[in-house]
């Protein structure tokens, strides 16, 4: 093989692998992207049942009910609208009323959000960025959150 042919093999091979990678990624992007919504977003955009989304906001104070065999119900609020959520399983350590929460799952036919994942957080003062933005958007961002969020980071190191 000449130098030129060798180079062609190399470049051809690289482009082939890149093409495969791009195809894999486009395919994966179609199937596995999850949009973040606040409760108001869900109601305004008419997110249909069966679409997988992330729902974020605050756990409404006084809404948490523990049912049979590990089922919990609570409402997620952004101050303007609320969406009832059910979840089967053990909630993360930092899940409590009045705290920010991000739940992943889908709406069922009757407008209840069936979560299969509740995202865990490492730090009691941390509020997910999306939740902060959603609260600011609905005008229910309070300064006490700001203060909590402004406490210097007690960061993780990972």
């Amino acid at each position: 093989m000449t130098r030129k042919q060798r180079r062609l093999v190399l470049i051809g091979g690289s482009l082939g692998v890149l093409a495969i990678a791009v195809a894999l990624m486009l395919n994966a992007f179609r199937d596995s992207i999850v949009f973040f919504n606040s409760p108001s977003d869900v109601l305004e955009n008419h997110v249909g049942p069966g679409t997988r989304i992330r729902l974020g906001g605050l756990v409404k104070t006084g809404s948490l009910v523990r049912g049979d065999s590990l089922r919990i119900r609570f409402e997620v609020t952004d101050g303007k609208s609320e969406i009832p959520v059910t979840y089967d399983g053990v909630v993360p350590d930092l899940f409590r009323e009045g705290q920010g929460v991000v739940a992943e799952g889908e709406l069922n036919g009757s407008g209840t959000f069936v979560a299969d994942t509740i995202l865990a957080k490492h730090d009691a003062t941390y509020m997910p960025k999306e939740v902060v933005d959603a609260l600011k958007k609905s005008g229910h961002w309070k300064d006490e959150y700001e203060q909590r969020a402004a406490l210097p980071a007690s960061g993780a190191t990972r």
């Binding site: 060798r6 990678a21 199937d31 350590d93 490492h122 969020a149 993780a156």
Partner: protein, 665 residues
């Protein structure tokens, strides 16, 4: 007083770094050996200052000096001494101090071991190292100073984040940072080579040990972090494709590629331009990892409340260093002469294959990690890219890499014999086929492709063994001679085999635990029992225990297999009154290389408790494989080729430059 001393030492280090970053470069331009020789002295002085600052901060923690804001926020007198020490880096400011300390430490090592480097290369490399150090020292002093005081010192600190009160914190961040920052050496040498416009095999021989050190530490750091989150977070997962995990995986992938391309450059003087690019990329990805973790731009399980000014500052560092390095590369790389030719089917070809797939896999992780960020800044949509994305892109790219891996070491340099290699791997392939059949026969349930995953893992392991068998000729020569050959084999050959074997072991663990692991989530009353795999767990009741700064609510479980008593498991809920936080302390029982994993929630009023129970088959193989990789890397590092002078290039056109090119250590 101690805190002020540390603060002052850090400022002094910044000053020295600025001198170290400018004077030696001027020296290389004016050909002034005096200025060039300032570099090692300055590097050592800078390390002394940074180390003093770090020790001062550690002393503030040990002495519980709550007049220092950072100590007040992250420590407490009731914490055991070990956690008071580790909480030095259990927070943003302190962990940046650790980052800079390790950077200065590596700079000092280059200064100490670089005695036989060419003067200009050493001066340039240490100067680049100093720019990085100066940028981060300025970052600490300007936006995250750990030495700030509080006017009225409180009596008691706020305690360390409970999740971090774990031996994992003592090990994981320092290892990870040794890895991240270790790549800075390869980066500095790459920039120095570009500044000089000249590079050769000796460069690769000199840089490779540093890459190897960084790679070993990063491997251990990632594996340690994975095990930590496995037992600490209580969800029993070993990898979440979380942005911060990806941030550590990307430099690892680029570093692994660099490790392999540097071999080609060292042996055959080929792939020079590519190796330089990889050296730049590996450290750039480390910097980006630091940015992702420290700025909090991505929602992650590791994310914490952060100060936006810090993000902007690190972003500026990122842009300057990555942008600067890549511009320099675009400008100077064409000057570097291309070396040895090789056929596509050859050892070099196999290593190019490896690089191609590793870098492509790294790129998919990068895109998956940054895509949400890009989309949000473009049209405001907030999305998350979860594990399904990575599983369906990273996985398919890794499989050809795994299958090709055993072929590489069996091929000759320049021109390889693919058919010959395939013949020698026949035994390994048969073994893999048997493993696939056995997996189909033994297991029930799980994805249909899983047995093939087992097959690939077995093929990789058997391939690594084949490599050693072929090299020692143990099947053809009498055992005595073969043993002699085994002893005489270069340690780097053993290192390769061990590391490749480890990849197979890890893959086997991942396949087994994801395909055949089982999970139960339930509530149990006292006296009730749960079964999983072959085991029955009986809940005997709840106990209360007090620790130094926490309260445990312990669930007592008895484990039986059939009628035989196996042992007792005690998962707990741990409450930390100082922070008003609770953590889940899972209980693990090891059976062979499999584990039973149990974690509990808060007890209900009627005395029943919510339980998560998992059976994790072969889970320990994941980290055992990382252990093999570490051992292989360490063996390779101890190869005499890297310590004692390899054959000098014959005296030729450039006697002055080449005579001095000797690897140190």
């Amino acid at each position: 007083m101690i805190a002020e001393l540390g603060h002052y030492a850090l400022m002094l280090a910044l000053g020295i770094a600025l001198i170290q970053g400018t004077m030696p470069i001027i020296g290389t331009r004016t050909n002034d050996p005096l200025l060039m020789n300032m570099a090692p002295a300055a590097a050592l002085a800078q390390f002394a200052c940074v180390a003093l600052a770090f020790l001062a901060l550690a002393e503030c923690y040990v002495a519980s000096d709550f007049s220092v804001l950072n100590v007040y926020e992250n420590s407490n007198t009731t914490m055991p001494l070990i956690y008071r020490l580790t909480s030095v880096w259990g927070n943003h400011e302190g962990s940046m101090m650790l980052w800079v300390s390790i950077l200065a430490f590596f700079g000092a090592l280059v200064a100490l071991f670089g005695g036989n480097l060419p003067l200009t290369l050493r001066a340039n490399a240490l100067a680049v190292q100093a720019w990085i150090a100066a940028a981060f020292e300025l970052f600490i002093l300007a936006t995250s100073n750990p030495f700030l005081r509080i006017a009225n010192a409180p009596f008691e600190g706020r305690d360390l984040n409970p999740i971090l009160q774990d031996p994992g914190l003592a090990f994981h961040p320092p290892m990870l940072y040794l890895g991240y920052v270790g790549f800075s050496i390869a980066f500095s040498f790459a920039i120095a080579a570009l500044l000089e416009g000249r590079i050769d095999a000796a460069w690769a021989r000199w840089v490779r040990p540093w890459v190897l050190v960084a790679w070993i530490c990063l491997t251990l750091g990632i594996a340690g972090g994975s095990y930590w989150s496995y037992y600490e977070l209580g969800w029993g997962g070993f990898w979440f494709w979380d942005p911060v995990e990806n941030a550590s995986l990307m430099p690892w992938l680029a570093g692994t590629a660099l490790l392999h391309s540097a071999v080609v450059m060292e042996k055959r003087e080929a792939l020079k331009v590519w190796t330089i690019l990889l050296a730049i990329l590996a450290f750039s990805l480390s910097l980006m990892g630091t940015f992702l973790v420290r700025s909090g731009v991505l929602t992650s399980v590791h994310a914490f409340a952060t100060d936006p000014r810090r993000g902007v500052f690190i972003l500026a560092i990122l842009v300057v260093f990555i942008g600067g390095a890549l511009s320099l590369y675009a400008w100077r790389a064409p000057l570097l002469k291309q070396g040895g030719l090789f056929a596509p089917i050859s050892r070099e070809g196999a290593l190019v294959f490896n690089n191609l797939f590793l870098v492509t896999a790294c790129a998919t992780v990068l895109i998956g990690t940054l895509y949400p960020l890009a989309l949000e800044s473009l049209n405001g949509d907030k999305i998350s890219v979860g594990p399904p994305f990575f599983n369906s892109t990273f996985g398919p790219l890794f499989i050809p890499l795994m299958i090709a891996m055993p072929f590489g070491p069996l091929m000759g340099w320049k021109r390889g014999d693919l058919l010959g290699a395939a013949q020698r791997l026949l035994a390994a392939a048969v073994l893999a086929a048997v493993a696939v059949a056995a997996a189909f026969a033994i297991t029930r349930g799980g994805p249909a492709l899983a047995p093939f995953g087992v097959g690939v893992a077995v093929f990789v392991m058997a391939g690594a063994v084949t490599d050693i068998v072929e090299r020692t000729m143990i099947l053809r020569l009498p055992p005595r001679t073969a043993l002699m050959r085994a002893v005489g084999l270069p340690r780097s050959a053993w290192g390769t085999a061990f590391a490749h074997f480890g990849i197979g072991v890890t893959l086997l663990g991942i396949v087994a635990v994801t395909a055949w692991g089982s999970e139960r989530i339930a509530e149990v009353k006292q006296g009730g029992s749960l079964t999983i795999a072959h085991y029955r767990l009986t809940f005997d009741g709840i106990l209360n225990r007090a620790g130094s700064n926490y309260q445990d609510v312990v669930g007592h479980f008895t484990v039986r297999r059939g009628d035989e008593l196996v042992g007792v498991m005690e998962p707990s809920r741990r409450t930390f009154p100082d922070r008003d936080m609770a953590t889940t302390e899972a209980a693990l029982m090891t059976r062979g290389v499999s584990q039973i994993y149990i974690s509990i929630g808060d007890p209900n009023k009627d005395g029943s408790i919510p339980v998560r129970l998992y059976f994790k088959p072969q889970v320990l193989l994941i980290w055992l494989g990382a252990g093999f990789m570490f051992f292989g890397g360490a063996l390779s590092l101890s190869d005499r080729r890297l310590r004692i002078g390899a054959p000098r290039p014959a005296k030729a056109k450039q006697p002055k430059a080449q005579a001095a090119l000797q690897p140190a250590e």
